[in-house]
Every structure is written in structure tokens, then in C-alpha cells.
Amino acid sequence: MSYLEFLRDYGPRLIDGTLMTAAQFVCASALAILIALVAGLMKLAPNALIRIPAVVYIEIFRGTSLLVQLYWIFFVLPLFGITLEKFTAGFVAVGMNLGAYGAELVRGGIQSVPRGQWEAAYALSMSPAKRMWRIILPQALVNMLPPWGNLLIELLKGTALVSLISVADLMFEAKQINGSTFLSAQAFGTALILYYLFARALVTPFMRWLERVMARRIGRA
């Protein structure tokens, strides 16, 4: 069987898998960004009752493996009465894991905003919430976009693990095709290339574009 024939026979399944990977990627990214924002802000709170839960969350999710977290959420959480369907369990695990890393980026981004900006906002008598939302966060966002680009690549790679709880993503399809055809190089090789294209032809250019747009909005370009 030539490689072209392989693509003709199994291409559609790999495309379906890629779409599932894309869906996982989008859902997990949205969750990770939300968690990163909340946990990152909480970690900067002066009140220990707010700060400590964020620190515990971040340390637990960064201190253990994504795969362990995924299995825990999928196999153990039901014992506590929380049963997630596999698609949901997949992106929740990936989003919660990468969100913990993102929280550190949010914290770092906020701390990189010069002190003069805090003082200037305070000198205008802005409330703490407005100060954060209107003055500090927009600037922090620009500072932390480049590392977020790398983090989203890591997140994309992380989604491959959801295949292990039978979400029919790209990795899953490649494994199935390998199992039925034993054409390992073709199946896994094509999947590798598809992941690479997803990362370098979609995620990275999108982040570069976003960086340019944000830089322009902040008047730096």
C-alpha cells in the first residue's frame, strides 16, 4: 500500500480526529485562560484566605502529571458523585493543568507592570477593581502574550492524552489505524505531521498576530 493509498483510505479518519483535537484544544484553552486569570489574581491577593487556595491549586496541578490528573478526574471523581462524560473530562483535565501554569504567567505579567502605573491609577482615585481591570491587566496581557504562545503549544500536546480515555481525537485515530493495519510509520507519522501543522501553521501564527494587534493597541508599534 503506497502512502497515497494510505491517505485515501485513512485520511478522512485522521481529519475527523484532528477536528476533535481542535475542539478539545479550544475548550481546554478557554478553561485554562479563565482559571489562569482567576488563580493568578487570587495568588496576588493580600488576604491569605484568598491567596492560599490559589497557591494550593497551582502547586497540586503543577506538581503532578497531567495523565494522573486526567485519570483521577475520569476514574476517581465519579466515586465522589461527579461523573463527567469523557469529552468533558478530557478538556477539563487539560484546561485545569495548563491553567495552573498559566496562573503563574498571569501573576508574572501583572508584577511586570511598573509600579508607577499602580501609583498613577491610585492617584486618580480609581477603585482597586477598576485599577486592575482598566490599567494593570491590559498592560500585563501584552507582557505575557509571548509565553502564552508556548503554553498553548504545550496545551495542544496535552490534548493528545485524552485519547487514553477514548476521546476520538487525532492521537486516538492514529492508534486505531495502527492497531488494524500495523502501518505504524504512516499512521503515527501522519499524526505527528498534523500536530506539527496545527501548532506551527495555526497556533503560532495566531499568537504572533495577536501580539502585533495588542502591541498596536497599546501604542508600542
Partner: protein
């Protein structure tokens, strides 16, 4: 308990037509064990222009920062008759909470050495931010106010530029307009020309001169520019080691300083020029 006892010596309000716009009563500021200001007493009248000079580390910038950004460890600060550092609770003064501080500081504007304009907003956006978000003005009203002020500081042509595209002098003029947009009763100028190239200092001092001569705004200015301070101030305070070593009308203080430290400082500054 000692603090509370001490506080009873301070009036709840300063009354009367002659009351100062800003009043420091026995104010002490410490950073840890380091006493930066020790028992400062200073009154600034409405419409007065007071310049604060002194060597670095003398506490002169701290005077402004206590009004706008920091808490104090002793004494009371009044602004327009009402306590700022403290608030009234059951007929007694207690240390202010952050809400009271913020409300009191709405009456004060501040300009910084490094401008601190918001980089993600245009010149106009910078000047509208406080009025819209804090004072609750409509966008339209805030825009008109901001444009008037940008006109006054000569920056109306650059209203749609972001700070990154403005020179230091231009940024500082926008920063002055931003502070004035809050209609402050007191304006604090913290070394506003120190970070500027020599050739653009003039455009900023011209704006300040206008504020003093035309608008009679109450201004407290920390500066290294002795000539400018002598030129426009009603009064000059020389700070040394956390205290006012000597104060007076600029003509007296600059040409006939009484204290030895003032003489040393002024001759050192003069020889540096």
C-alpha cells in the same frame, strides 16, 4: 491606646475662612525603623505655590507621597479642613480606612517624575479615564473637559497619540492635563522636570507657570530647579534630614539663607550648575 490618646489633641475639622488648604500636624513617616519624616508641621494656604527643595534622602518626596500614596505613622494630615489620614468615628479621630483615603485623595492631583501615563490609552484617553471611571462623568462631558485641558497644555494636536509616540516633555504635559481633569483642589508635582532633556524642560515649566499665575491653583512642588522655584514660588521649604530646616519667601531664602546647611546646599547646587 497611646495613639488614640494622642489623637484627641487634634481637631476633628479645621474651620474658618483662613484655614489652610493642606495642613500637616506633627506628621511622622517611618519605613520600618527608618524615620523619614519626624514631626512635620507644614500649612499650605489656598492658592499658594510651595516649593520643596533639599538634598536627596531629605524626605522631600515623601511629603508628597504621604498626601497621595502612603500611610503615616503619627500626626494628622488635613486637606481643605477635613482630616485625610484619619476619619471621624463617634466624635473621635481614628486612622483612615482605604475607602476614606481614596475619597479624600480625589481632591488631590499628582504628577510624577516619570509621567506614568497609561501606555495603552491615547493622550485623550488618559485624560478621560479618571473623570469617567471615578467621577462618573459622561463620555461626552469628560471629552470636552479633557480637550480643554489638552488645549491649555498645548497638546490638543496630539490627543489621539499614544504615550510611546510622545516626547518626555509632551508626556509630562499630558500628565498634568490628566491630573487637572479630576479638578483637584491641590496639585502635587514630584520632580516633574527631572527626567526631561534640558531642551524640553521649558515647555513644562511654562505650563506650570500658567497654572500658578492664571488659575491660582494650590500647588506643592518638589524640584531640583532652583531658578524655576525662585521664580514662581510663594514660599520655599528647605528639607534636611526629615525636617524643614528653613523656609521663607524665595527672595529671602535664596539670597540670604540663615542656616548653615541651607547655605551649604545652595552653594553646592550653584557650583554644580
Amino acid at each position: 491606646m497611646k495613639d488614640l490618646h494622642d489623637l484627641s489633641r487634634y481637631p476633628l475639622r479645621l474651620e474658618g475662612p483662613d484655614r489652610p488648604m493642606v495642613s500637616f500636624r506633627n506628621v511622622t513617616k517611618r519605613y520600618g525603623d527608618l524615620v523619614v519624616l519626624d514631626g512635620l508641621n507644614l500649612d499650605v494656604a489656598e492658592g499658594e505655590m510651595v516649593s520643596i527643595i533639599g538634598p536627596s534622602g531629605s524626605g522631600k518626596t515623601t511629603v508628597l507621597r504621604m498626601l497621595m500614596l502612603e500611610r503615616i505613622q503619627g500626626g494628622v494630615i488635613y486637606v481643605d479642613g477635613a482630616p485625610l489620614s484619619h476619619m471621624e468615628r463617634g466624635g473621635k479621630l481614628v486612622p483612615a480606612n482605604s475607602r476614606h483615603l481614596r475619597a479624600g485623595r480625589e481632591q488631590i492631583g499628582m504628577c510624577f517624575q516619570h509621567f506614568n501615563l497609561f501606555p495603552h490609552m491615547t493622550a485623550l484617553g488618559n485624560c478621560m479615564e479618571g473623570p469617567v471611571q471615578v467621577l462618573g462623568l459622561s463620555k461626552q462631558a469628560a471629552r470636552e473637559r479633557a480637550e480643554d485641558l489638552l488645549e491649555m497644555v498645548g497638546m490638543i494636536d496630539k490627543r489621539d497619540e499614544h504615550p510611546a509616540r510622545l516626547s518626555g516633555g509632551q508626556q509630562q504635559r499630558v500628565a498634568i492635563a490628566r491630573a487637572l481633569a479630576m479638578r483637584p483642589k491641590v496639585l502635587l508635582l514630584d520632580e516633574v522636570t527631572s527626567a526631561l532633556d534640558p531642551e524640553v524642560i521649558g515647555e513644562v515649566t511654562e505650563v506650570i507657570r500658567k497654572l500658578v499665575q492664571k488659575y491660582r491653583l494650590t500647588i506643592m512642588m518638589v524640584t531640583h530647579q532652583m531658578g524655576f522655584a525662585a521664580d514662581i514660588s510663594d514660599r520655599v521649604c528647605f528639607f534636611y534630614d526629615g525636617r524643614i530646616e528653613e523656609e521663607g519667601a524665595p527672595a529671602d531664602l535664596f539670597s540670604n539663607p540663615q542656616k548653615e546647611r541651607t547655605q551649604q546646599f545652595l552653594s553646592a547646587v550653584k557650583s554644580a550648575d
